[in-house]
């Protein structure tokens, strides 16, 4: 993985916005999850580009690499730089009996769900996440908007610890 290279080019910038105070980054290993998921998409695009390339070359006599080369370059760029940037935009906090999840840059959303508003909690692990020992935590609220809030990129023990802390609150409210 070329994450070290990415870090050289794209140093994490200390957050300047007042909105981001008190946020905790998700696990650095989550970059690799993003990278593999991105790579799968890029792979599909590259295969499609390869087919077009061959067809164009045989039928139209186009120069070799006219399609494939730019696609490969763009794909490499995305795989190297995108995960770092995407990872940096995630942030969370479990302080003050509230779950706070921030995500996105072009459209940044910072969500707070008080623990006592949580209806139920999922801890999920996909195959790629399992590879890196990560899990994602999903909480469900009664609201129709934001009924599902997902926080990816936690280690499995962390996710389970957060879940247990929240569950305690749910039980306390019910009594």
């Amino acid at each position: 993985m070329s994450s070290s290279l990415a870090e050289i080019f794209d140093q994490p910038v200390p957050s300047v916005s007042a909105l981001d105070a008190g946020l905790q980054p998700v696990e650095p290993a989550y970059r690799n999850v993003i990278r593999i998921m991105t790579a799968l998409v890029v792979l599909a695009v590259v295969v499609a580009a390869g087919v077009i390339e061959v067809v164009m070359h045989v039928k139209g006599g186009m120069q070799q690499g006219a399609v494939l080369a730019p696609v490969l370059a763009f794909g490499a760029f995305v795989i190297v730089f995108l995960p770092q940037r995407k990872w940096r935009r995630w942030g969370y906090s479990g302080a003050d009996e509230q779950l706070r999840v921030a995500r996105g840059w072009l459209f940044r959303t910072d969500t707070i769900v008080p623990f006592k508003r949580i209806q139920h909690i999922d801890v999920a692990q996909g195959p790629v996440e399992r590879l890196f020992g990560l899990a994602s935590l999903t909480v469900h609220t009664a609201g129709t908007h934001n009924s599902i809030v997902t926080l990816p990129g936690l280690t499995r023990p962390d996710a389970e610890a957060m879940r247990d802390a929240m569950r305690l609150h749910i039980r306390r409210e019910a009594e």
Binding site: S17, A18, L19, Q98, W105, L106, F107, R108, T109, D110, T111, I112, V113, P114, R117, T141, A142, G143, T144, H145, N146, S147, V149
Partner: protein
Amino acid sequence: MNETLIAPQSVPIADTATERRLHPLTLLLNLSRQLPQAIIGLIALRLSGPDEIRGWVALIAFFAIVAMFGTEFWKWWRFSYRLGEEELRIASGIISRNVRSIPYERIQDVNLEQGLLARILGMAKVRLETGSSGSGDEGVLDSVDLAEASRLRDVIRLRKAAQGTTEPAAEAAPEFTHAAAETRPMFAMDTRRVLTAGVFNFSLVFFALVGALVNNLDFLLPGDIWDPYRLLKNLGYDGLMAALDLTAQIIGVVAVLFSLLIIGLGGGIIRTALREHGFRLDRTETGFRRRRGLITLTDVVMPLHRIQAAVIATGPLRRRLGWFELKVQSLASDSDKESDHAIAPLAHADEVRGILNETGIRWDTDYPEMQPVDPAMWWVPLVFALPVPMIGIGVSATFANPWLFLLYALLPAVPVCSRLHWRAHRYALEGTQLYVRDGFWAQRLTLLPLRRVQSVDITQSAVSRFIGLAEIEIGVAGRSSPVTIHAIPLDDAIALRSRLLALS
């Protein structure tokens, strides 16, 4: 009129453990719902296709109708319900069987609905209100007769009380069917009020209805029926068209607009009268009970503790005349179509306050005292949105028709509307309640008690981050969209969020 929904009589509660089917006349109701479609389909079949296969068409149609009756009967036969000791069981399904158990303690209330035919036959659709946030058809018994409906109500209430839920067991059961009829309603609308409400519900839906009908049935009409020359010729006014001068054309346009107005008013009044006739809101032990309808009667119960927020809707004209509409957002689902529960379709401010008092939601502030948002709300979207139609009109006018340049005259309406919407959008946080108002033409004031806040988002797009603004979105249960405050400075948003969450 609404009294048909109340059938005061003593109920044999002992007889509950048996399986029951829906009333046999349900078959008639269901078939009557499908028949119009089937007949239209048959007519279409009869009119289309070559002559040779017409015999076969008739045969297939015959089998289709037999199959329709058959499946309806089979469905009816396989649908049964049973009031058990602890739960209501509904078994259904022709091929794949489904047995649903609804514990009594989960049933919030029992709503009734009666269409025209059902009223003639003395039947009602029973809708069980459960906590699920789904489509609201978790427990529907369509249909049983009225005696059975009130028996279901009483049995469910008694069992619920026996299981020791929140309600006081002693008075819960009898109150429902009997007492509500005699006490004074909390709010009711007489015919005059209903008609007034209709005037404000100006609606061109009838126009659309006629249009759709013409669209679907135009195979029955000669192709050139809309040709005005032909129309005039048929009527014997040859040459009239040529004689029409500009004045006549202007008069024609005015006449069309006038008839649109009449159709819109008429449509609104008819629609409102159909829905709101005999509107009556009662206070019951646990909440509100609403009955209304001219042809389709509905009887809906809204437990107070499930009400999440209130919305007071009005318009520029209605506000001037002192009329407001009160809706509540509740976890309980209304009849199929609506997400909001109309509590008072047209009421004066003091009536609205009277009803709101029961819910514990206050209406202490309104537009003048509320806080405006940043003007960026109206001009920023314009910077991005306006160039598109400007270029589009320019291009199409140059290449297609120079008259299209006239469309530029309409463009100033966009910033004007946008600005009016910005001016209408205000918010306030007073006591333990958030007030958000929006809409210039359809004005909505949302009253949200802070303890009903489920989640709070602060969102920023790249553009709003650049100008230092943010948006707050509040998730509330029983409402499809979040309560949103647009375009407030980021620091205000953060402060507001912590105040919102401090009490929730």
